[in-house]
Structure formats: structure tokens, C-alpha cells
């Protein structure tokens, strides 16, 4: 086993970005922080004068915030889920990705805390999300302990941060076996919890009497949608990291090809669920359901609905089959992220506009507060990620090291 100094020198490229804070860094952080602070102001404004500052009304009593809630939870929860599944199935190529997408939760904390304050969703929801949050933070943290131990030796002037976090890690045999066991347990624990989170989020809709929400396939549909948008977000983030932090040696096209195949699988799954859901309603749904369906297919929401279909399926599907290159992946992932946000929107809003009693009609246009909060969330998400990447390595050093050693001892 190499000593920490040698390992650190070998993986200089992973550690290097943590020591630099160049012009690019500030050019990213300052605008993001500004947008984020603006959204905090918008929230304060709304907190003072009431939810009337939004565009919501009767009968559209849930709108942008719920769309964001479903969307961001989906993105962040996919991270831990994907990394845990890959670990269990011993998919070696997942190693470089794991850390990067575990990061979803650092910003999620801010989101849940924010939401709980003003209008928390259901109790199940809240319980599941808090459980998930706790477990996934532990999961991420345990995976980082050996690296934090390394960092403690490497950056003496940041000891105040790394020393308590490293829990006195020295890398003895006993410590390695303990951490192996802990990771094994956490991997298994994180999967059902992560699935339950989005299942319960879907039940917030599925358990209701609103037309087009009351569907038994909503739980798997939402879980698939969450993982789908989550993988897309992971690909965008890792591509950005690869470029900005020059990690080409670690994140190879081969890794991205595999992620692309995973994304392709979920493109098909998502399309299958969407098709099944809408066909069932169209074929045998009641009049209230039909009203919502046709407002989506040909009515008021047709434009958004078909943009969603194009962004989530028509564009990414051929790209992922015929052009699974890095730019191709980037384009399809961005399309999917935007498309999935629109998907959440077209699930939530049209059902409100066309409730069961055909007399009650309303409209919805988001206000500046809602736009600011949405922008602020996206900015906060990115900001938390950027800061995280400056404090902790974005690729697990000890796991990369372990994998290399395994490859050396039994070359294929």
C-alpha cells in the first residue's frame, strides 16, 4: 500500500481543483450567489405578504413550487439511488460517477428546510424525505471518510474542517473492513428509502380524486421519471467537471458510453409509462379525465405537452442510439432535464384547470416571485455543488486507487 503522500501526488489532478480559485470560479460563484440571494429576498417578500404574491388562485392551488419540489427531489434522489445500485451490482465503471451525484443532497437540505417552513407537503412525504435525507448524508459521508483522512494530511491549513470529519482515519486493516461493512449496509438501505421517497411524492397526487392524478401507475411512473432526469443531471454535471477541472484521465468516454446506455434504457421506460398512462385514460377514462387529457393533447396545454414529448423522447432517443458521443450526451441530457420539468408541470397544472365540476374554471400564470424562486433553486443547487467541489474531491480517490490495484492484480 502506498503512503498518503504518494497517493496524493499520483492523483494530483483530482486534488488540484481544490487548491485553486481562479477567475472562472468567481465568475461562476458570484452570479449564482446573486441569483440565490435574490430568491431569498423573494421568499422573504412572500413570507411577509402571503402566498398571494404568487400566481396561484382558485382552482390552481398548487403550482410552480410543487413542480419544483417534485423535479428537484427527483434529480437529487436519483444520485444516491444510481450510485448504490451500481455498487451492489459491482459495476466498476460507476466509481468515478458515484461521488459527483451524491451531491444532490447538499442543496436538497436547503430545499426541504425551506419548504417545511412555508407549506410542507404531506406527513408521509415529510417523513420519507427526512429519512432519506439523513441516510443519504450518512452514505455520502461514509464514502468520503478515507479521502478526508488523506486531505487532513494534505492540507494542513484546512485541518479545522477535515480533522473532526475524518474521525481519526488512519487506514488500518480493521478500519477498512469496518468501512466496507458500513458501505454494504448503507447501499442496501439507501435503495428502498430512495424509491419510497418518489413513490410517496407520486402518492400526493395518486391518492387524490383530481382527474388524471388518480392513477395506480403513478408511483413507478414518478420513480422512473426521477431517475431519468437524475441520470441526465449527473451526465451534465460530470461533463462540466471533466471540462473545468481537467479530469479527462478519470472520466473516460467509456464511462459516458455506459451512462448513455443507462439513459437510453430510461428513455424507453419513461416513454412506455407515458404512453400507457395516456392511452388508458384516452380509451376508457371518464368525462372529467377526458377533459384533462384533451387539454393536454390538443387544447391549452398541447404546446407544452408536445414540447415535453419532443425533449424527453424524440430528440434524445435517436441521439442515444446513433450518436452516443460526449456532445450527443450533453445535448440529450439538457433536453431531458428541461423536458422533465415540463412533464411535472403538465401533470400538475392541467388537472387543476379542469377539475371534476365543470363550472369551476381558472387560469394560472406564474408571478415574478415564483420565477425568482425557481431560478434561485437552480442557482442554489449549482452553487452548493461548486463549493462542495472546492472542499472535497469530486472523484473518490480511494475507490479509484482500489480499482486500479484490482486491475493490476488480475488483468483481464
Amino acid at each position: 500500500m502506498m503512503d498518503s503522500e504518494a497517493i496524493a501526488r499520483k492523483h494530483e489532478k483530482i486534488l488540484a481543483p481544490m487548491t485553486r480559485a481562479g477567475r472562472m470560479f468567481w465568475a461562476t460563484v458570484i452570479p449564482l450567489a446573486a441569483i440565490f440571494l435574490w430568491s431569498v429576498f423573494a421568499f422573504g417578500w412572500q413570507y411577509r405578504s402571503g402566498l398571494g404574491e404568487t400566481g396561484m388562485g382558485h382552482p390552481v392551488s398548487w403550482a410552480f413550487y410543487l413542480v419544483n419540489f417534485v423535479f428537484f427531489i427527483g434529480i437529487s434522489h436519483a444520485g444516491a439511488l444510481v450510485s448504490a445500485v451500481l455498487r451492489i451490482t459491482r459495476a466498476g465503471w460507476g466509481t468515478p460517477f458515484g461521488r459527483a451525484f451524491d451531491l444532490g443532497r447538499s442543496s436538497r437540505f436547503y430545499w426541504v428546510a425551506l419548504h417545511a417552513q412555508f407549506k410542507s407537503p404531506l406527513l408521509w412525504d415529510f417523513t420519507c424525505i427526512m429519512t432519506y435525507f439523513t441516510v443519504s448524508v450518512i452514505f455520502l459521508y461514509v464514502l468520503m471518510v478515507p479521502d478526508i483522512g488523506l486531505l487532513r494530511e494534505r492540507f494542513p491549513n484546512r485541518r479545522w474542517l477535515y480533522r473532526p470529519l475524518s474521525l481519526g482515519w488512519t487506514g488500518t486493516e480493521k478500519e477498512w473492513s469496518t468501512i466496507g461493512k458500513a458501505i454494504g449496509i448503507l447501499c442496501v438501505a439507501v435503495i428502498p428509502i430512495a424509491v419510497s421517497v418518489h413513490t410517496v411524492v407520486s402518492w400526493v397526487f395518486g391518492m387524490q380524486t383530481q382527474p388524471m392524478w388518480h392513477s395506480t401507475i403513478f408511483a413507478p411512473y414518478f420513480v422512473v421519471g426521477a431517475i431519468y432526469s437524475g441520470i441526465a443531471a449527473i451526465i451534465v454535471v460530470t461533463l462540466a467537471l471533466r471540462k473545468v477541472y481537467h479530469l479527462e484521465d478519470y472520466l473516460k468516454p467509456y464511462h459516458f458510453n455506459n451512462m448513455g446506455l443507462l439513459l437510453l434504457t430510461f428513455t424507453l421506460l419513461w416513454a412506455y409509462f407515458t404512453f400507457a398512462e395516456h392511452l388508458t385514460v384516452g380509451y376508457s377514462g371518464g368525462s372529467a379525465e377526458q377533459a384533462v387529457l384533451w387539454s393536454k393533447l390538443t387544447g391549452k396545454y398541447a404546446l407544452l405537452f408536445w414540447i415535453m414529448a419532443v425533449l424527453c423522447f424524440v430528440i434524445p432517443f435517436p441521439i442515444l442510439i446513433f450518436w452516443r458521443t460526449l456532445p450527443g450526451l450533453l445535448i440529450s441530457s439538457i433536453c431531458i432535464i428541461v423536458g422533465m420539468w415540463i412533464e411535472r408541470y403538465t401533470i400538475i397544472i392541467p388537472s387543476f384547470i379542469e377539475p371534476r365540476l365543470s363550472y369551476v374554471r381558472g387560469d394560472y400564470m406564474p408571478s415574478w416571485v415564483e420565477w425568482s424562486m425557481t431560478a434561485g433553486l437552480a442557482a442554489g443547487f449549482t452553487l452548493a455543488f461548486v463549493i462542495f467541489s472546492k472542499l472535497f474531491p469530486v472523484i473518490s480517490i480511494w475507490e479509484t486507487e482500489k480499482e486500479e490495484r484490482e486491475k493490476e492484480s488480475n488483468p483481464r
Binding site: L51, G52, S120, F126, Q208, T209, R356
Partner: protein
């Protein structure tokens, strides 16, 4: 409650009386455009057919006070519940404004306080002191003028007797000039509402959802929900 649609003339006095009795805040033109108008007693009018064969339909919609209310079970803090009298009550201080009850009400008769209440000065002294004040961020709805039911019950208890049929009248029923609205106890075998609810003209709104509404409508011929 039984509402006879054949008697309804569409004067909307019930809407006004309800607003007055329950301090239901008016939204104003701009806010109403955003869908913030509150109608504990909502009123729908519908024109059917075209000239010269035109028919107007009027349709007052209070809270249905369902026997199996979909709204109460989705509340995470039990701020709304079905009380022993069968009224779907709402505890304003307990409400945290999740609005799930609003979205799960198939009749869309629950309303949200989007802003802190503010009254014009001329109105302040006309408010009903018996009604609980709703602050911003809570849901509210028709409760069959629960304050009147309480008062009548206390009176009956003081006089050591049972409530008699027709003793409690909600504001909407009291004000209706054509006496289209009847209020009473559906559990009382001799009550007028029970007799009317058995009428062959009687129907309930969205009956097939299994919510068991306690508001019956009377209408000659078949009512189409559309």
C-alpha cells in the same frame, strides 16, 4: 341541507347573506381575476340552448359536508375533520396551509387566504363577532353556519330540551326569498330535510364518487353534471 333548484330564482341573496354572516372577505377586481374570490356559497348560472329556446340554470354550491370527506384524510395535521354532528369543520389556528384539502375536494369549494385579511373601514363594524378570524395562509370553507348551530344548542341545553326541526337556520336558508333552501337534521326521522331528500326529484352532486354529500338538490327531470 336540501336545495330546490326548481324554486331558485337566481337572485344570489344566499351568496350575499353568507358573506355577511361569515365575514367572508371580498377579493376585489384584480384579485378575483387571479382566482382569489371566495364564495362559501358559490353560485353558478348556466345558459342552455340558443334563442328562442333558452333555459337558465342556477346552481348554488355550498360545502357538501360529505359523509366520507376526501379533504379531511389528506390533511397532515388534522386541521380539518368531520365533527360528531357530521359537519366537516376546519380548525383555523391548526392549519398550516398545505392546500391539499383544496386540491382533493372534488367540488372545489375550499378557499385559501392568499393575503392577510384587510377590511375597508366602513365594513369593519359590520363584521359578525361570532365568527373566528382567519389569518393569511389558512384554508376556509362553508360550515353550515356552525356558530348558529352552537348557539341554538346552548339555548336548548339551558332550557333542558332537544332542538326542534327548523330551529337552526343558516344565513343562506334564512335569506332565500323563494324558500328554496331547507336545513335540518338528516338523522331526525321526522325532519323536513329527510322527507325532501327522499323525493323523487332529489339527487346529489357527483354521487358516484362515494363521498356521500349531505347536500341534496331537487330538480325536475334529470340533471346532467356537464
Amino acid at each position: 341541507m336540501v336545495i330546490d333548484l326548481d324554486r331558485c330564482t337566481g337572485c344570489q341573496a344566499c351568496v350575499v347573506a353568507c358573506r355577511q354572516e361569515n365575514n367572508v372577505l371580498f377579493a376585489g377586481e384584480d384579485e378575483a381575476k387571479l382566482g382569489r374570490a371566495k364564495f362559501w356559497m358559490n353560485f353558478i348560472s348556466e345558459v342552455k340552448g340558443s334563442y328562442p329556446d333558452v333555459r337558465m340554470h342556477f346552481f348554488p354550491i355550498p360545502c357538501m359536508q360529505c359523509d366520507h370527506p376526501p379533504c379531511t384524510k389528506v390533511c397532515p395535521v388534522e386541521a380539518t375533520y368531520k365533527n360528531p354532528e357530521g359537519i366537516v369543520a376546519h380548525i383555523y389556528p391548526r392549519c398550516i396551509g398545505v392546500r391539499m384539502c383544496i386540491s382533493n375536494c372534488p367540488y372545489t369549494v375550499r378557499y385559501f387566504n392568499w393575503h392577510a385579511p384587510s377590511w375597508p373601514d366602513e365594513y369593519k363594524r359590520g363584521r359578525n363577532p361570532d365568527v373566528y378570524k382567519r389569518r393569511k395562509g389558512v384554508t376556509e370553507k362553508c360550515n353550515f353556519c356552525i356558530q348558529r348551530i352552537r348557539k341554538a344548542k346552548w339555548n336548548a341545553k339551558r332550557e333542558k330540551r332537544k332542538l326542534h326541526d327548523g330551529e337552526v337556520i343558516p344565513a343562506c336558508a334564512q335569506t332565500c326569498p323563494s324558500e328554496a333552501i331547507t336545513f335540518g337534521d338528516l338523522n331526525d326521522p321526522k325532519s323536513r330535510v329527510l322527507k325532501l331528500s327522499k323525493s323523487r326529484r332529489a339527487f346529489r352532486l357527483l354521487d358516484d364518487l362515494g363521498t356521500e354529500p349531505k347536500v341534496y338538490y331537487l330538480k325536475e327531470g334529470e340533471w346532467d353534471d356537464g
